[in-house]
């Protein structure tokens, strides 16, 4: 068993693309946790999706053995964190299990939006910060300037901050030395009753739920009866151990200050909630540890199986994903247009996209999703307040007194030359200006209040394209504000398609309606009868397009007496019809739904 003073628990935090996963890779190599031979890039990002997108979605933990320059053997527990604004919640979970955090700053870009956001999160958890200036190999690197900026903006000393290149490996060993030197060891609380913080859990089909914990007080070993303090559920511990990059390493016991895993044949993830405290039935702790702030989904949409027969599979898949992703919420809903599906809640649009992609890839599901919505507060004339995230629950406008929509406070960091473009964008998105601060001569922090529903579609993409990728963006939820909202309905052949309705600011309704009508026209194939597409508010049509009736769909020459070929063609045609969504007499392909979701911002 390692002595407490030789244990260091730390996270790495950084703005996206500042090299977090690459640095983690180098640390694994340097400590020979992974041999060069087994090294794949971004080892901790073991989801395909994470590697492809170059982002970390899930927290990952790994134990490193490190022999410091003075000869002391250390046990380092690295808890990797996601870098995107949608996943602050995951970051917060990881940080709660640590005493310190390595803060990476890109030597050419300097302090960015998430650098600050993550720093504040780390300070909230009383973590010791270890600043590291990365990417010194880049031609545009200016470590002196960036060090000065960090001292000025964040207020932590940087003169001894390691200046490294995670890519080439230069100076990376200094990072390990700084961790050992700066991050305090955990307290020795072995004698107290067990309290272990669950910071993550994954479902394994053989072992059941694997619970990742940070032991704060006491010890735990196989055979103990563990108790979840929030739910009271009890399990017999089957195995405890440490996380290694490619395997789990069983151990005799886990003691205070350590990071490891517990398996106990736990069948459902809801029994091992992230943020809960584990204690033992034999000697229970009096008080649980402080849990995480509960995350509330901010973005909602309907998720439906393309094939109605997949409803149960979708349900199972969502349950499994939720096991590892407490931020995902879902409940059954029914749509006249799409049948049975789920109303799902997400942290943000990236979160939504990732869940969708994982459902499609890992569970082989084909999905149709509806337009994302936020939670609106509708004040009725009778004084009642309705909170709705689903346009189908939008009340009759006649009984609405007024509406409120959620806002966020956003910080946009950018080189000064793009300030005008960003202001235009924020204005277009109904933002209200709060202020502007020069962080340095080449970095401006623009502070805006924006309606959340304006940033959930494509704000980030629009920002990137208007600033050639130089701007970064971070936001936190702010208060609700009064707003003039309307519900926009799509009518095909005179019938409302409920799955396409959405709530929008009245000023935005007309251009958006026109764009959607055009998109639908492009994506609905010509059919036997002409199809009017109407966009309406209440009963009033504000935009209209028409899909002309099909004129020609006929088999050319009959190939001799080859009737089978004709029959196959007919079967194929019927099969194709089955894959369409049918609304009355109108058939709409899945692509049309997708096209409406992906309205580009021209």
């Amino acid at each position: 068993m390692a002595r407490k003073e030789n244990i260091r628990n730390f996270s790495i935090i950084a703005h996206i693309d500042h090299g977090k996963s690459t640095l983690a890779d180098r640390l694994l190599e340097l400590t020979q946790t992974v041999s060069k031979r087994d090294m794949t890039d971004q080892l901790l990002d073991n989801m395909d999706l994470e590697r492809e997108r170059g982002i970390t979605i899930k927290a990952h933990a790994v134990k490193l053995d490190y022999k410091a320059n003075d000869g002391t053997q250390y046990e380092l527990n690295l808890i990797d964190t996601p870098g995107h604004v949608d996943f602050n919640y995951e970051v917060s979970r990881s940080l709660a299990a640590c005493e310190g955090a390595v803060l990476i700053i890109d030597a050419s870009q300097g302090v960015e939006a998430q650098t600050l956001a993550n720093t504040y999160l780390a300070l909230d958890h009383d973590l010791e910060l270890v600043p590291v200036i990365n990417k010194i190999d880049l031609p545009a690197a200016d470590p002196d300037r960036v060090a000065a900026q960090v001292e000025e903006v964040i207020g932590i000393p940087c003169d001894e901050a390691p200046r490294v290149s995670a890519k080439t490996g230069e100076n990376v060993s200094e990072v390990l030395e700084s961790i050992v030197k700066l991050v305090p060891p955990p307290e020795d609380n072995d004698e107290k009753p067990l309290r272990a913080l669950i910071f993550d859990s994954v479902y394994d089909s053989y072992k059941g739920v694997i619970v990742y914990v940070r032991i704060v007080d006491g010890k735990i070993k196989a055979g103990d009866t563990m108790r979840m303090m929030a739910t009271g559920a009890e399990f017999t511990v089957v195995e405890v151990g440490y996380m290694r990059p490619n395997a789990m390493e069983p151990a005799k016991e886990l003691t205070s200050g350590e990071v490891g895993y517990i398996t106990a044949s736990i069948k459902t993830v809801s029994d091992a909630r992230v943020g809960d405290t584990v204690t033992t039935a034999q000697r229970p702790a009096a008080e649980p540890l402080e849990g995480y702030r509960k995350v509330n989904p901010m973005v909602f949409c309907g998720v439906y199986p393309a094939d109605g027969a997949d409803y149960e599979n979708l349900h199972d898949a969502l349950e499994k994903l939720q096991l590892n992703d407490a931020a995902l919420s879902f409940e059954p809903e029914t749509s006249g247009a799409l049948g049975f599906g789920f109303r799902c809640g997400f942290l943000g649009l990236l979160h939504l996209e990732i869940i969708e992609e994982r459902l499609e890839r890992e569970y082989n599901l084909e999905l149709v999703t509806t337009i994302p919505s936020v939670i609106y507060k509708i004040h009725l004339t009778n004084g009642e307040i309705k909170e709705i995230d689903n346009p189908s629950n939008y009340p009759d406008p006649a009984i609405i007194d007024y509406c409120e929509e959620p806002t966020v406070e956003a910080h946009i960091y950018s080189p000064p030359e793009y300030v005008g473009a960003i202001m235009d964008l924020c204005q277009d998105r109904r933002g209200s200006y709060i202020g502007m601060t020069y962080l340095s001569a080449d970095r401006v922090d623009l502070h805006y209040k924006l309606p959340l529903n304006e940033i959930i579609y494509d704000f980030f993409d629009a920002l990137k394209s208007r600033t050639r990728g130089y701007a970064s963006f971070d936001y936190e939820p702010a208060e609700y504000q009064r707003s003039s909202l309307v519900k926009l309905d799509v009518l095909l052949n005179g019938d409302i398609v409920d799955a396409l309705s959405f709530i929008i600011h009245s000023e935005k309704a007309y251009p958006r309606a026109r764009k959607i009508a055009e998109k639908l026209k492009e994506n609905i194939p010509r059919q036997m009868f002409e199809i009017p597409i109407q966009m309406a508010i209440g009963g009033k049509v504000i935009a209209r397009e028409t899909v002309k009736a099909m004129r020609k769909d006929v088999l050319a020459k009959c190939y001799g007496g080859d009737i089978t070929r004709k029959k196959k063609l007919l079967e194929k045609q019927k099969e194709g019809k089955k894959r369409m969504r049918r609304f009355g007499t109108v058939e709409v392909p899945q692509e049309a739904f997708m096209a409406v979701l992906k309205l580009d911002d021209e």
């Binding site: 036997m528 004129r551 019809k577």
Partner: protein, 369 residues
């Protein structure tokens, strides 16, 4: 006695047209001779085997391809005579598909002499610019000469193929092609819409051309239907038009779900409720290997799919006679919406498509069946 149709496939062409994906290639004289011998022996053995199972005759012979005319008159004569001796009735309609190129009066005289009484000729277009795009080896004048030669030789039942939807084709150019046919006085016209088939030169070069769009092609079709009917050439199938009495009896067998025997690579057959075919492989056929089964045929859905290609449509009386039940109510109900849309007529005599319905028959069939 049962009357079946006999089809012989001639997989040879002098040169492949740019749009064609039928099974054909250019062959040497030696190959043509060998193939004819093989086909003749196949006619004799297959017909004999068939007649041993049940007494039957064929009242149509259709020699298609490829380009049967490139076999030469003598070889065609030998094929016809073999078929006659094996299975044909006295009054059989005997059709040979011909290319204007390489056919003259002597050629047609020999055919007429052995009993060929119908010629189907690929014209596609009487506008030479359009013919070039389609890769036709002859020009308009040669086509005209060939028709006149056949008529001079005594064959008046001539069908010309017209293609719709050729690059650059418009109403004016189509009417030139239609006038050309009308002036020659042929009693039968087939009009097919050009379909880009993968793997053909036209498919590969499609980007170079401007094709009439869906609406234009539909308008061309309607224009042609109108022109022909005003000259007494009536539509009897989606793509076929004839003066009364000049319909292709052989092709009607396909659409009425009657029996036929097809010999040669890629030829299809329907006998005793079974469909079968020879693969698109000429060696396979020369080796004398048996046809490949293609499942059962003749079920109601298939029958309806084929019957609805015809102007006479799906006849209540024939359905009752063949299947012992009426046209299903579900189909009648589905038809109602399309009847009010002008796509079809559903009455006591049956269901039949209008021209508007023919144009979208694939979708219509998928809705009804």
């Amino acid at each position: 006695m049962k009357k079946i149709g006999l089809y012989l496939h001639i997989p040879f062409c002098r040169q492949k047209c740019s749009y064609c994906d039928f099974y054909s290639f250019s062959a040497s004289e030696e190959q043509k001779g060998r193939y004819c011998d093989c086909l003749r022996s196949s006619i004799l053995t297959s017909c004999k085997a068939l007649q041993q199972r049940k007494p039957c005759k064929a009242d149509t012979l259709y020699i298609g391809g490829g380009t049967p005319s490139c076999l030469g008159a003598k070889r065609l004569e030998s094929l016809v005579n073999t078929a006659k001796s094996a299975i044909l009735t006295e009054d059989a309609q005997i059709t040979v598909e011909c290319n204007p190129f390489g056919t003259d009066e002597d050629f047609f005289k020999i055919l007429n002499g052995c009993g060929v009484n119908r010629i189907s000729m690929g014209l596609q277009s009487a506008v030479d610019g359009e013919r070039v795009i389609l890769g036709r080896i002859s020009d308009k004048n040669q086509a005209e000469k060939a028709v006149l030669a056949a008529q001079k030789a005594g064959i008046f039942n001539i069908s010309l193929d017209i293609m719709l939807g050729i690059p650059n084709q418009d109403k004016e150019s189509l009417s030139r092609t239609a006038d050309f046919c009308l002036q020659l006085g042929v009693p039968h016209i087939s009009a097919y819409m050009l379909k880009l088939e993968e793997g053909t030169p036209l498919y590969r070069n499609a980007g170079k051309y401007s094709f009439p769009d869906e609406d234009m092609t539909a308008d061309l079709y309607l224009q042609l239907c109108e022109t022909l009917s005003s000259h007494g050439i009536m539509q009897y199938e989606i793509s076929n038009f004839a003066k009364p009495g000049y319909e292709s009896r052989h092709n009607l067998k396909y659409w009425r779900c009657e029996e036929y025997l097809g010999l040669g690579p890629s030829a299809h057959s329907f006998i005793d409720g079974k469909r079968f075919y020879y693969p698109r492989d000429w060696e396979y056929f020369l080796d004398g290997k048996p046809p490949v089964p293609d499942g059962n045929g003749g079920g109601f859905e298939e029958y309806a799919m084929l019957a609805l290609r015809l102007s006479e449509g799906l006849s209540e009386e024939r359905v009752i006679k063949r299947y012992g039940h009426k046209i299903p109510m579900s189909m009648r109900e589905k038809a109602r919406r399309f009847e009010s849309g002008g796509f079809l007529i559903s009455d006591s005599s049956g269901i039949r498509f209008t021209r508007k319905g023919f144009l979208v028959s694939n979708s219509l069939l998928a809705e009804l069946l």
